[in-house]
Amino acid sequence: MDEILKELNEAIIEGEFGSVSKIVNRALDASIEPSVILKEGMIVAMSEVGKRFEDGEYFVPEMLMAARAMKSGLEILRPHMIRTGVKSAGKVVIASVRGDLHDIGKNLVGMMLEGAGFEIVDMGTDVPTERLIEKLKEEKADILALSALLTTTMPNMKDAIEALKLAGMRENIKVLIGGAPVTEEYARQIGADGFAPDASRAVEAAKSLL
């Protein structure tokens, strides 16, 4: 692997967001293609971060630092990706369901998905179902990712799926759910397409849906 890309890898894995944007600039100056910088310099790094999390070596703080480092690099890279026509892995609208004011899980999933090359539209917390539908139409998203931290707000995930059916959009949108009280069993019960027990596995789950 090119030395610059290796350096970029390590900086992201170590969460050194102060240096990532500089390394991305050096990579661009060295005429490395934006798609290569993204895939080999950044997505590979975030994949390693996910692996270390699943192995119990990394925890939420390390993931957050790596994701933030990746984000700082993406800000530099994005205009070049648009210019060279680099496509995202898919577009995800992400939200905490209506009634749920918690956001840390959603934020972490959003960062990890972005780190895996997805385009993220973050609607925030306590999002009414009708606004989710509007946004999905507007953004022509591929995936709706929903988070709930309370058992009392989980039923709003089912409401969202029903609303997609009523709007005639269910066939075109994959629904991925997660959050502390959410289980694979619950995902099956309500007809969700995927379930992720944590932010790292959300990436694999999202990829498997497309």
């Binding site: 703080p61 934020n107 009414p128």
Partner: protein, 393 residues
Amino acid sequence: MTITSRERFLKVINCEIPDRVPVTLFIADQGHFISQVYPKVDPQDFLTYQLKVIEIQKELGFDVFVRLLYNVNDPLSIHCGGLDVSQTTENWEPKTEVINDGKTTIYRSVIRTPKGNLEQDFSVNEMRPGTFVYACTKKPVKTEKDLDIVIEYEPRMPAWWPAQVKSRIQPVRDALGNDGILGTWTPHGPFNNASLLINLDELYTLYRVDYPFYEKLMNYAMERILDYTRAIDEAGVDVHCVGGNVPGGFLGKKNYDKYILPFEKKYIEFVQQNGTPAMYHNCGKIMALVESYKELGARIVEPFSPPPVLGDADLKKVKELVGDAYVILGGVDQITYLQNGTPEQVREVTRETVLTGKQGGRFILQSADFLEYGTPLENLEAFVQSGKEFGGY
């Protein structure tokens, strides 16, 4: 010789072996289960709800544990998030706009101080009639400069507060008598309290990214609640319930031990300085921190939420690791079993839990977290009967 429920609890907390394991419930003092059982109570009548928490536990045969959050944590922001916008001084002028957004009411505040403005949103969502969720949805501290302003100008506890909290705790204490113990939620451990002021994804990395800012924030998060904690203690409670769930096991033991434990430990020492035990609360992932809590110094730790839905607690392993370091309060899954199981399933899981937990004493059997709306009373009857039947020493 029969002992009262209160004596039973106190024996366990003092590391003595009682006649049997105390069997109790975690019931939130507004909404959720209590509003299911008493739907006609005004949701803002916190005292009546708190008396009903005692009433229902007594009726069902439990050893009563009534824990107060509402009415004690007033203003609610000191427990649920944000700065104190209930007070105005010459250097602290909050202006609050109320925004109605469906079932959510947003209290949007701009606080003027001589050194700059602070902004925050405090949201209240009525998730079902009578059940409210409160949170600071736009946190006021974004930079160290913001924190410096808060430290310099946020008003401290008003002089009348201790008398108010005492007057609100006393009727509950009188109603409880010897039927159990009374706990109150303090305004959290320092890390939980810091999370009320700054975004979580900033807080979870701040100690690595900018330790001086982090240290200043944690010291302030502790300092701002000491007066309230002292006043609650002097009002006469049996247990201080201290929130420690924000620095959960998902942070990893190394991060917790190095960056969080020193502050939490200092607060616990303060809480327990007059002999009132602290009960440190970490719902969710806990196994990575079970041994760290031995250093924490809290006399009780709860709730050891079991998998799959709630947490990762393995009670047998916890007992082996903890030894006699602290009292364990936990852990029958209140969703999978108490809300959604059959009485037979409840009876069996309770039997297993109490037989494991009671070994060597230092164990109180409880629902793993607050009871959900829609919990059948027959399941609670199965829980208390099984807990008493198999919890004898």
